[in-house]
């Protein structure tokens, strides 16, 4: 319980003195900028990692399980498990599936999708002006012509 404040009140410093003292006596901290830049640059996967951590933490709470028990079940160190629940670990698929198995939960799901016939081309060329032109030509060709056209384009691109 805090009962008294022992500050001197007879020697009040003025603003300039305080600023001088702050500037001369404070330690320079450059680390926060590095940490902040790291968090900003890696926000996407750190957010995913945090979501996984929250899911793990709430499952542990629901099951009445400790992080240490989880570490033993996963055959990982408690320090590593702690890093996971702090959302700092860039998890591998292997580790994720191990956790899913031990906790009997689903952490990551790949949405279902359909592979189209020319998916490979669409995936890497779809934004280029040349490909858009090609697409308009394709609409007037038969299938065999389309294949030749795509082949020619790929050769041209590689060359």
């Amino acid at each position: 319980m805090i009962l008294s404040n022992c500050f001197k009140t007879d020697a009040i410093m003025n603003i300039e003195d305080i600023k001088k003292r702050l500037i001369s006596q404070s330690k320079k901290d450059d680390q926060w900028i590095k940490d902040a830049e790291y968090r900003q640059a890696n926000k996407a996967w750190l957010d995913l990692s945090a979501s996984i951590a929250i899911h793990i933490l709430s499952t542990l709470r629901r099951k009445g399980m400790t992080q240490k028990e989880l570490a033993i079940a996963l055959e990982l160190s408690p320090q590593y498990v702690n890093k996971i629940v702090q959302g700092k670990e860039n998890l591998t698929l292997e580790t994720i599936t191990k956790i899913e198995k031990v906790l009997n939960i689903s952490l990551v799901e790949v949405p279902s999708f359909t592979v189209s016939q020319d998916y490979g081309v669409n995936a890497w060329l779809s934004d280029t002006p040349s490909y858009k032109k090609l697409q308009s030509l394709k609409s007037e060709m038969n299938l065999s012509q389309k294949a030749d056209c795509i082949y020619d384009y790929n050769v041209l691109k590689i060359a």
Binding site: M1, I2, N5, L22, K28, A36, A53, L57, V85
Partner: protein, 183 residues
């Protein structure tokens, strides 16, 4: 309560104190805990009544953690931007980020207790003492789930830290002083 060090976070404008029981200064500590899902999970579980009590609506813990992390990221980005442009652009400085704690825009006192929030409707607060125009000393922060600061212990502690830091700055020999805890 005792301040063991001060740190310059932004050159000659943003400073931060380190309290005795902490491993780092307040500014760094806040962004560490606001990004830590484990800390946030425990915090929101401990304050579940406030979280779901209506002041912010009815928010679940998972949403609250994501919201906190997003707000922290937004605030950090703003301070980073000031760190990079504040030296040359006089309109982009800390004074645009901090406002008086008392919500009275017409009265700015010396050594004003100040707060920053990224926008209206955000619940993260960084608390600081305003020493001068564009000179602030960070002494704490909070996830403010209630309207006032007097109703919750974790917020009352922040008020004490503000007062303590103000006195620390005004004291001629700050190293010689601290609160006395009798029991």
């Amino acid at each position: 309560m005792k301040i063991i060090d001060t740190f310059a976070v932004l050159n000659e404008s943003l400073f931060s104190v380190q309290f005795e029981q902490e491993v780092t200064h307040e500014f760094a500590r806040l962004f560490n805990i606001w990004n830590d899902p484990e800390y946030l999970f425990d915090f929101f579980n401990e304050n579940l009544t406030d979280l779901q009590g209506g002041f912010w609506g009815d928010i679940n813990i998972s949403e609250a953690i994501q919201r906190t992390r997003n707000e922290a990221s937004e605030l950090e980005a703003k301070i980073l931007a000031i760190a990079k442009t504040g030296q040359t652009n006089h309109y982009e400085n800390l004074s645009t980020l901090f406002t008086p704690l008392n919500n009275d825009p017409c009265r700015i006192e010396s050594y004003e207790k100040s707060k920053t929030r990224i926008r209206k409707g955000s619940w993260l607060r960084v608390y600081a003492i305003r020493v001068d125009l564009n000179t602030y000393v960070v002494c704490g922060g909070a996830i403010k789930l209630t309207k006032t600061m007097n109703a919750r212990n974790h917020l009352k502690l922040e008020l004490e830290k503000l007062e303590f830091t103000k006195n620390y700055l005004l004291s001629e020999s700050p190293d010689a002083h601290d609160f006395v805890e009798l029991f």
